[in-house]
């Protein structure tokens, strides 16, 4: 019974659009599973189903071997949740928020008090706990939200983009904290659209796009599927779309995607290709400002699999 999360063939549609289309994964005790996908990929919807907030149209979710869904109180009690929005009462203090959320998990009196102290200390907020949440910085509010997800000492912790809109220092603290939780045996489902985060703390990553998990594995496994491929990032002065179209014609280039300020290429052996890229652009009178060759990473995997830049 190592698997805390077992998710199989989960689907969810709104009208004609299928938002989650047969998603499945397993997460073991002590493992961090990253759900990596761009905006609108279906991360939050998947997570809502995993949390029992939304009813899936089909598929199943098990938590620690027990069937799970919106009406399953037993399994809900085993999960901790850090929603994408902080979801705190701004007009209450952190401690008042936590006291209320603790009650939702059946914790009251001295047990609740100890638990609240424990999570506040864990996220480093003990000394500001009696201030109104509305007076908090983004990072502090986020840490309070995380504290709320830990009140019931969950077997499975689900975090939906926990570092979005957070300063770098808080972000580091959060990542380290999540890692430490996993090391203590918690199974973690972690959604993000930051490739660096997924690379840094996730043991395994599922690449989610258009409601489907397109590839899954450890970082190593995913990168190895690319073979000798590289990701080349070009910065241009405008005309990114033209450039992308032109560069896709070059032999050795698999995909070329226009981004905000340039083009990203998924290609074989970037170093050999670089001079030809420069010439092709010059031929069309396009100004190249910089060219970077990236060793294969998750972003390259993402580009290769979906034909999209992760932050397009």
């Amino acid at each position: 019974m190592e698997d805390v999360f077992v998710v199989e063939g989960v689907k969810k549609s709104y009208g004609d659009s299928t938002v989650v289309d047969g998603v499945g994964f397993r997460i073991r005790k002590g493992e961090i599973y990253g759900l990596l996908g761009p905006n609108g990929a279906g991360k939050t919807t998947t997570i809502s189903i995993v949390m029992g907030i939304l009813q899936a149209d089909s598929g199943k979710v098990e938590i620690s071997g027990m069937p799970h869904g919106p009406r399953e109180m037993r399994t809900k009690a085993l999960l901790g949740f850090v929603p994408q929005q902080n979801a705190l009462y701004e007009d209450l203090t952190a401690r008042e928020n936590l006291r209320f959320f603790a009650r939702l998990y059946g914790l009251s009196g001295s047990v609740a008090r100890e638990r609240i102290e424990e999570v506040l200390t864990a996220v480093g907020l003990a000394d500001r706990a009696d201030d109104l949440v509305s007076s908090y910085s983004g990072g502090m509010a986020r840490r309070t939200a995380i504290a709320a997800g830990l009140l019931n000492r969950p077997q499975g912790l689900v975090l939906d983009e926990p570092t979005a809109g957070v300063d770098p220092q808080s972000r580091n603290a959060i990542l380290e904290h999540v890692r430490a939780l996993a090391d203590s045996g918690v199974a973690v489902l972690y959604s993000t659209h930051y490739m660096e985060e997924a690379e840094r703390i996730c043991d395994r990553v599922g690449i989610l796009d258009d409601g489907r998990i397109r590839a899954e594995g450890t970082r190593r496994e995913l990168v190895d599927t690319l073979g000798e491929r590289d990701r080349v990032v070009l910065e241009l002065d405008g005309a990114a779309a033209d450039a992308a179209r032109a560069l896709e014609e070059l032999p050795g280039v698999h995909t070329a995607v226009a981004t905000e300020n340039g083009v990203e290429l998924d290609c074989d052996r970037g170093a050999e290709l670089a001079p030809r890229i420069v010439r092709a652009l010059a031929d069309r009178g396009l100004e190249l400002r910089s060219l970077t060759i990236h060793e294969p990473d998750l972003e390259a995997v993402f580009l290769h699999i979906t034909g999209k830049a992760l932050r397009g």
Binding site: S48, Q85, L88, F101
Partner: protein, 390 residues
């Protein structure tokens, strides 16, 4: 289960107490406006039960005696009015000016004779400017008596087939024997509902603002959805029904507290008479449940708390205008039938009956209000699935 409902309600209350709206809508505005209205429309501090009339019989005839003994005296005996007699019209006017009485009936010299002759005859009413409603009632009583007397005369006359041949004795017998005219019989009890201006305005304001008091507790669910805290509830091992019940409970507690506090304050400050406590409690609870049900139904069909708030405000004004929360619609005649669809009407009617001492109508009001609460609540509940989707 109940623990969770109470926890949710307690958290809501804590938040409501922190924001100022509760104090504004639940206390400051209704008390302030009730004070203002009562002072504009009548002596609010005066005991509303006590309608004090004076009668001056300058006629001394048969019909004047009938008016005093058969019409006014029974009202006095029933405790509906306090009746005094005075021999001189000027003295009566002075007593009214001194505010010892609200109004004086002056049966003029030759009243009986004039009626007998089929001439225009009327009973004069001298009223105090401070007691507009009481004076209005006095006029109604005087007028309907004169009308009745004239009708009786005509009937007697035609029966005798001889015009003016009837004697005053025959006529007064006729007036006495005539079935008590409906209009006359109903004037006191019907208008009784508007007698006590202090209570009327205090209760009307309180119930009008009740909708604004419960509004933010009810629409908070939409804010929870927007702010994401709804997702936390749904993720927690808590039944969805507790969430709705907790919210309804906090709205009800806030509403009941605000009405009771207003009842207390208006009794102390304005001399309002809300009537016996058990009746007031039953009426308050059912009245609040109706308001919670109606506001919940509106919220359930809205997409944001702002939208719900706007709709509820418009509805609260509409119902308040129609239902008599803001001014006495009963005076609008046929139009007043519309007020039957408003909880305001039933709340005020129930209170009026209560303070009038005839408890019979209170259960009806309580039943109607509870019915409204159940119907509106069911409508709101039918949308629970949508409300509880993040």
């Amino acid at each position: 289960m109940f623990g969770i409902i109470a926890t949710i309600a307690a958290k809501d209350l804590r938040r409501r107490l922190k924001d100022g709206s509760l104090l504004l809508f639940g206390l400051a505005l209704p008390v302030g406006l009730a004070l203002l209205f009562s002072s504009l429309l009548g002596d609010g501090a005066q005991d509303g039960r006590d309608i004090r009339y004076l009668v001056v019989d300058s006629d001394g005839g048969e019909l004047a005696a009938v008016f005093v003994d058969e019409v006014l005296a029974p009202l006095d005996e029933d405790g509906v009015i306090t009746l005094g007699e005075e021999s001189d019209a000027d003295a009566a006017r002075a007593a009214v000016d001194e505010r010892e009485y609200d109004a004086a009936f002056v049966v003029p010299e030759g009243f009986t004779a004039a009626v007998m002759a089929g001439e225009d005859a009327s009973i004069g009413v001298v009223g105090s400017a401070d007691a507009a409603v009481q004076v209005q009632i006095a006029r109604e009583i005087a007028e309907s008596f004169a009308t009745e007397a004239d009708a009786a005369r005509a009937a007697v006359a035609s029966a005798l087939d001889a015009g003016a041949a009837a004697t005053p004795e025959e006529l007064s017998e006729r007036v006495q024997d005539a079935p008590v005219p409906v209009a006359l019989a109903e004037v006191p009890t019907e208008t009784w509902r508007q007698l006590d201006t202090a209570t009327y305005h205090a209760a009307g304001m309180a119930y009008f603002f009740l909708f604004f008091v419960v509004m933010s507790s009810v629409t908070a669910l939409l804010d929870e959805r927007k702010g994401g805290t709804l997702a936390r509830y749904l993720a927690a091992p808590v039944r969805r029904s507790s969430l709705l019940a907790g919210r309804a409970l906090s709205a009800t507690v806030v509403g009941v507290a605000s009405l009771l506090v207003l009842a207390l304050i208006s009794s102390l400050v304005l001399g309002a008479q809300w009537g016996p406590l058990p009746g007031v409690l039953a009426l308050t609870l059912s009245g609040v449940l109706a308001a919670v049900g109606i506001t919940s139904a509106v919220a359930a069909f809205s997409t944001s708390s702002e939208q719900a708030g706007n709709r509820i405000s418009v509805l609260a004004f509409g119902l308040g205008l129609l239902g008599g929360g803001l001014f006495p619609v009963a005076q609008l005649g046929a139009f007043s039938a519309v007020s039957l669809v408003t909880p305001h009407h039933w709340f005020l009617t129930g209170l009026a009956e209560l303070s009038g001492g005839s408890g019979g109508a209170v259960p009806t009001s309580v039943l109607v209000l509870t019915g409204m609460a159940v119907a509106a609540g069911a409508l709101a509940f039918s949308r629970a699935g949508r409300m509880l989707t993040p």
